[in-house]
Structures are given as C-alpha cells and as structure tokens.
Symmetry: C2
Subunit: 564 residues, 2 copies
Amino acid sequence: MTKKVLVVGGVAGGASVAARVRRLDESAEVIMFEKGPHVSFSNCSLPYHLSGIVEESEKLVLMSPEIFKDRYNIEARVHQEVMQINREKKTITVKDLMTNETYEESYDKLVLSPGASPIRPNLEGINNSNVFTVRNVVDIENIQSYIMQKDMKDIAVIGGGFIGVEVAENLKLADYNVTLVEFANQVMAPFDYDMAQILHKEMTDHGVELVLDDGLAKIADGFVTTNSGKNIDAQAVILAIGVRPETSLASDAGLEIGETGAIKVDHHYLTSDKDIYAVGDAIEVYHRLLRKPTRLALAGPAQKQARAAADHMYGIPNKNIGVIGSSSIHLFDVNAASTGLNARTAQQAGINHDYVYLMPGDKVGLMPNSNPMHFKLIFEYPTGRILGAQAIGKGNVDKRIDVIATMITMNGTLEDLKDLELSYSPMLGTAKDVVNHAALVGRNLLQGRYKEVKVSQVRELVESNAFIIDAREENEYHAGHFIHAVNIPLSQFRQRLDEIPKDQAVYIHCRSGQRSYNMVMALQNLGYENVYNISGSYLGVNLYEYFNDLVTGRDKIVTEYNFK
Amino acid sequence: MTKKVLVVGGVAGGASVAARVRRLDESAEVIMFEKGPHVSFSNCSLPYHLSGIVEESEKLVLMSPEIFKDRYNIEARVHQEVMQINREKKTITVKDLMTNETYEESYDKLVLSPGASPIRPNLEGINNSNVFTVRNVVDIENIQSYIMQKDMKDIAVIGGGFIGVEVAENLKLADYNVTLVEFANQVMAPFDYDMAQILHKEMTDHGVELVLDDGLAKIADGFVTTNSGKNIDAQAVILAIGVRPETSLASDAGLEIGETGAIKVDHHYLTSDKDIYAVGDAIEVYHRLLRKPTRLALAGPAQKQARAAADHMYGIPNKNIGVIGSSSIHLFDVNAASTGLNARTAQQAGINHDYVYLMPGDKVGLMPNSNPMHFKLIFEYPTGRILGAQAIGKGNVDKRIDVIATMITMNGTLEDLKDLELSYSPMLGTAKDVVNHAALVGRNLLQGRYKEVKVSQVRELVESNAFIIDAREENEYHAGHFIHAVNIPLSQFRQRLDEIPKDQAVYIHCRSGQRSYNMVMALQNLGYENVYNISGSYLGVNLYEYFNDLVTGRDKIVTEYNFK
C-alpha cells in the first residue's frame, strides 16, 4: 500500500525527512508544505548576504520545488500555510496564501518541522517599518533593500546570540555604524564570561559598538532607547533576541508540549500521536550531560532527527543519544567554537567541575600565521570526565572542539584525552596538541599535583596585596605588569629563593602559564606548601578591560596580543 | 637522595624527558648529551628553511643550553657523543667532539633518545659532496648553502615520504627544477593509492617532476640514473628514502632489540635493563590496530613516551595504549592527513574491511573558499569498528582526521560516528559533516542496504561494456563522460525506466555520488536487484591519469576540479 507522508515545513528538517522517505520508499506519496516562497534554503548563511559575502540572495535558496519534483518525486508546495491538524480524520487543513482558499490533505504519517519564530517583545515602536527580524530569505532581502537607502548610517542589532552577532558583523563589514545591545553581560551564551571577552574585543576592535547589561526599551524615529536610558542612533533595528518554537499547530491539535515550551517527542521523534513526528527547532531534545530536556536550534541535529523519524516510519532502528550542543562561528578575523557544558552551565546544574584555560600557539611558532589560541576545557570532578570546551583563535579552533565533542560522546576522560594521537605538521598544528596539553594540566589539577587560581580571582588577589610573582624576564615585566607583582624570572628564581616567603600563599604567573607552571612545581618540590599558578596568566588577564586599573604599562602587551 | 638522570639525545624525546624530570624532582641532577651543536630544534620544520618560509635557520633552534640551565637547571652538553653504556658500573662513556677527549659519567637512570639516522644506500656516487640527507639544522644549512650556488638549477629528491615530499615542495617553492624519485607506485605511504593520486596531481600541477615505480641506481656528475635507466638532471641530490633507528649504543650494551630492528621497550618504555629507558624514533612501539610492534618516527608520540618514562621513574602510573599513526602534511595548496589503517595495510594484515570514499564540500558551497574535500573512511567488517581515514583538500581536513583518530582510540563504530554532534558554521563547515556522512554511507554498506563498486573497478566495468548510467544532467554529460555510459539524469529516470535493464547489473555514477545514490535506492525499491553505486563517482575517477582512455571530453571536468 502506498504510504502518504505530509511534511509541514520545507527547510532543514522538513526537506531532509522528505528526501529520506523517498530513498526508503520509491512508491510513497510525499508532499511538503511551506508557508514562505522557498524550500530548502541555507538559514545559517542568511546574515552573509548583508555584507555581500553571499552576493545574490537567490543563491541562499538551495533547491527549487521543480528540482524536488524532478529528482526526488517530492511535491513541494510553497505559499501554503498549514492551519490545522485533524487527527481523527488524519488530515490537515491547508490555506493557499496566494488564493486564500483552504483545502484538506490526508496523511498516513505527518511530520511537523515548523521551526521557530523570532521573538518580538511588546514595546513602543516594535511595529515600525524599520524594525526587522531574520528568519528566511525574504527577511534578509527586506533588510538589505531597506538599508540600501542612501541616508542609512546607523543600525542597532538587539541580541548577542549567533544571529545577532553574525548580523552585526556583516553589517559592519558593509560599513554601517553598528551597535549591538545585549541584555546579559556578554554575547554568545555558549561561551563563558572569560572567553566571551575575546569575542567582545574582536567586535569592538572592528568597530562594532557593544552595549552589554542592557536591553531595548523603545524604538523611536532615528534612535532606540535602552533600559538604562541610553539613546542609540539607529535608522534601522534588527531584532535577534531569541526564537520561540512554533507550537501552535501542535498544541491546537492537542499534542503534548514539553516543559521547555517546545513540542514533546519520544525516542523516535514521535509526538504524543503515533502517526505524527516532529523534528527541528520546534521540538525539545534531551541534553545528555544535563540529563533534562532542552531546546537546540541547530541545523546538524535537525538533519539527524529528520533521518531518524523517516527511518522509524520504515522500521529501521535508530539511536537517540541526546544532544551536547556543539557550535562554531566565524567573527571578523577569529573563529570560535564550543561544545558541551561551559563552566557557567555546569555550575548552574550543580555539577562538580573544574577547568583548564590555556593559550598555546595554534601551530608551530616559527611558521607563517601562527597565532595564539584560547582554549578552555571543562571536566567533572573527581572523575575527570570531559564535560565541554571552548576555543577561540584565528586558526582552525573548531577542529579542537570537534575532538572534544567526540570525547564527550564517547564518555572520555582526561586520561583518554591526554593519550589521543592526533595528526600534526608544523604548518597545521603543534606536536603536543592543545587538547592533549589541556588534558595533562587538568589531570594535574584532578590529582592535586599542583594548584591554581582562575583569572576571575586575580582582582581579589591584587587588591588584597597577595604575594604575586611575575615569572617573566625583566624586559617583559617592564613593558607592563600587575601592580604590586614581584618580578622573579624563572631563569633567576633558584638564586632568589630567599625572596619568596614560605609562610604565606604565593601566586605565580608568566605570559601564558608555561614558565609559572614550572616554577610552581619546583617550589612545591622545595617544600613550599601554598603555591598557586595563575591560570590564564598575563595574556588571559589582559583581555579583561576591567583589570585595567590593576596593570601598569599595559598598552604594549595588549598590542602584541591583538589578533590582528 | 639526589637522583642522577642522564639523557642521550637532546631533541624531541630527550628534551621532553629532561624537562619532565625537573618538574617532578627539583633536586635531581639532569644532564643531556647531544652529538650535534643544537638541542631542542624543530625537526619537522627543517624543510621549510629551503623555501625561506623559515628564513633564518637559527629560528629552527627552540632552546639553547643556556636557557635549559637557567630555566630548568638542566645541563645540556652539546658536541658530546655517547660512545658506550657501562651497565654494570652504571656509567656512560662520552666523547667530547671538540677536544676528542673521553670521560665517564655515572647515572641512576639513563634515558636513550638517540633518534634515527637517514639511510644511505651503498651505490655509485653516494659519497659525492652534492649528496645530502636531512636530519638536523646543520644538514639543512649545508643544503641551503650548497644550492645557493649560482649554477644550481636541477635537484633530485630521492624518496617520497614526509621528508622527501616536503623537501621537494620547498625546493620547488624556491624555484629549482625538482624531480622526486620514489620506488613505490605512489608517494606518502600512509595514503592509499587512490588518495595518493590527488597528492601526485598537486605536485605535478606545481611543477614537481614525479618518477614513480623507480629507484636511484647511481649518482653521476650533473645527473642521477634510475633503476629503469632514466637519467635525471641533478646538480644536487637529497636522499630521503627512510631512516634507521640508532640502536648501536643499545645493542652494544646488550639491550634487547625488537623484531622491527628498533630498541625493544616495555609498557613503561624501559629497555631490558631496569635502569635504562628508551623513547622516540629509536624504539619500537605497539600498534593497537595491527596488534604488533611497529616503528613510528613522529614527534607527538615521542613526547608522550618521554613523559611516561619520566613519570615511571617517580612512581607515577601511566597508560600505554599503543599507537595508531596519525599524521598530516601541508603540500602546496592542499592539506592532507591520515590516521589508523588505510585499505592497503588493512588488507595486508588480513583484516576484513570495507571503505567509503566521499568528495563533499569542505564548507557550505556558497561561502568563499569552499572547496571539494576527498575523504576515505576504512572500517572493519562486519563490526563497523572504525579503522582509519584519509582526507585531502584545501580546507582544514586534519580536523576531520583528528575526529576519526579520537573515534579509533575510543573504539568507536560507524554507529557512534554517524551520531557525533560536531560544531558547524557555514564559513567553517557543513551541517552534515563529512565524518557523519561517511558513517551513514558506511552503515548502508555494512547493513547491505545498497551496494557499490570502487573506483579501482571502473576500468574493468568500462572495458567489459557493463551497463553504466551517468545520472548527471545532459550538459554535464556532454562536457565529458565515460565511453559507453548511458546518460539518464536523476531528474528523468522515472520516465525512462524502460531503458534500464532488469536482467543485468547496472552501475550508476553522477558527479560526486549523491544523485547516483538516490537513483540506486529508487531502483532497488522498484525491484532492481543488481544495482551498484560507483564509489568516488566521476570526480574520483577523473583523478586517475590512467583512466584517460575511458573518458571523452575530459578536459573541462578536470579543470573545474582542480584545487587551484
């Protein structure tokens, strides 16, 4: 018997499930319904039209209804809004947006892939014609044609998630004055506060104005006002404060909605109706590290869900291992990627953890384009199980994050990570890859072989006049150093032990942490019981604008350190 | 009691073990002996001095004896050759190469890290002054100063391993006429023959003359002669046909030598003497996939061995999980990386295996610098256990290989690999990463969901006049196609089923394998029992020079396909 499969939504998840059904069943009748004019466009590439990196917006559309028909015998109906699911009759009610006529279509299996819609808060001016959101190709074309007006100069982007940051970057590349307003104290929630400083610096270095810890209060003619009362010039406003899963179709039909407000699905991505699947940004998924439902609006997981749902219709077993949340972003001159939990989410979840923060070179130092990479590894205490990582730098930082994502999925520990045998060539990396290195440092912490304090504790140390040793050479120290820090270079400390007190805590840093680590180990060996490495060292601390007052002669180092 | 640790060899393994001992034991006396003038130089970066990528050869030297002394309190004695180990007395006999005097030095623990020396075959002209090998900074300086002569035009590089290929590349970048002679039918043994074709093409496209299946017979004035009688102009010859572990010190002392001809060590990198460790290129290691001893001259493993040896001296437990062999190379405009077994080594070891060959884009197609990537995944049959992978392309292919290396180490299967949740942004990758994609295809093969033939079988198919369907669109077909292939585009085949025979085998290809896969699945569904996808498809096959005669109108496709 011919199976009739209807799919609501023709992007990422929807198009994938339709194509997979066709591969499994040449005889199935497959119809996709899409409210907009396009099926199968590259959501993730939308912001790149604003800078011209993707010059023609038509290129964002990957497949036409004609190709779906010709190649896959899939009927893709655009401008069709699915209004209602009639579960007892096993039909859906569809409205043709071109003719405003409605009709019913029956199904054997129904797949919901309606996605998520940008949140529009209810505030003054929100419906002005210069206020935009970014969801599809039409949206991005509308923004582009609006801002091409000749008097357009200043644009406000509201929200510092992936879309907000990428939109801000691409508008800046197109030479607008861009201000990004973010409610939290940092952009890009997958990153911890310390790592986010690097992203902030990258954005401000490239001329994006950042307004953090502040929200949009109202939109007026030519400017927006923030909660704190700041007025920001803006002839156009892009809203990117988050998305809300499209659940009305499902909830109107009595399908169960989960605790996160998204459609609830089982192991096979079946909703509470055994003939209705749901995939993509509209559903809630299971976080395998947090052990609870979550929402994750990413393309990769959507494709996997789509395949699993189609397979289940045809009795093909699948695994559902939950999600860990891996993502990356290219931002001006740096790449940034993260996976699993960050220290903040681990803390919030009450998971006993510790972390390592390293800044090695991304390739052998004497090779062209060798640049520092910032790497943070979070692990469970006392098991050493890998929980997550974040990496930022000019090179291929996402490679290191993917290795960590693999380790998390395979339940790896620091012990496993230190032994990984990774590919190396001096043009592409270092013999001891940062992931190996981080595992070794983490193992030292786990086993109590040495102690460290985190970057975030430096202010307290300096202000309380703690005994801080700067283990760099004298010329480095004189170019800029912490106030009160004592300069005892690694190359001299064995002759100057009498300057290092045994009866109080000693905190040591150098440039990147390597030399101070060696000094910490030596002092411990010599009977010092209270010696700490300052994690992140001088490079890490220097990224914090708010440490400015703790450092003298700072400029030179910051310049050296620039990613440019 | 103060421990006295002597280390023979001051590069990679030697320097690492010395530094680790110091961190574990501030009171230990640590002396490194190095025959040459430099300790701790970057071996892997040596070839890059020939092109000027590393302009000053001094930069290749990472640490001076003075820094070892000042920072780590390690005595690094250069120009000192260790002549003999006196195991009963626990001393070594050392010759000072500057004074020619010998002396003895006692040890509590001795670490051998003598490395491996370039093989010099015994043939006519081998001792000429224009014949060089590449082992250390002095070697590379000698080559550089010799070839700077104004009449130097042609250089022959003998051997197509890492060093030979990198030397050839860097000499070519410096504008010499370079011929590379390799005894095997391909360069770079970690890659399978099919993948090596891409490296051959990259080298010849950049003007390196390749002479394969041939060896060096003799060296004459201004040219070399190969085994096949070919004369190759060469005013200088670089020998890079392999290395031999430096075992004479160990074997003279009666230490056990392993079946591979390298120093035999136990789990802790102890030799057959409980006070003598050995690490680095001179030892044999255990291959965890082949389950037998092997040699692996790579920097990363040497560092891990060094740390493990030092830790063992101080009772710190370590794991020894064996090696899998991961490596990468940057070659002109492409990067190439591999890990684990290739199909050839799996075959030789009698391991039942299959593989997947894919050519996806390395990032979203509409993004700048999107390029094809060649990816080959080898897995065990019928378990689906991951055995190895190779990747070549302009982008960060090593990232994908490191994910596979992680999976191998964690005993992952195709089932695990397909579910990996990796980071994605359109500027950096694709939503379905190639490793996920390859796992899905591999799983289809493993479960018998569809069948394929390999690129290497195409000649036989074409010559036997098999029924080959070219599933590309008509314009693609007309630009170049296999002789005898029938053009039935995926977009038309449902209307042209009567042209596809049910009573004989049908082989389908398209450009990259995606469209043909869909047609194979559809035909199977329609009751065709003998349908095969041609793995590697038209792009893969086109890399083989020796398929030239099987294709018409080939030029256009090859040009399109170029990595340039």
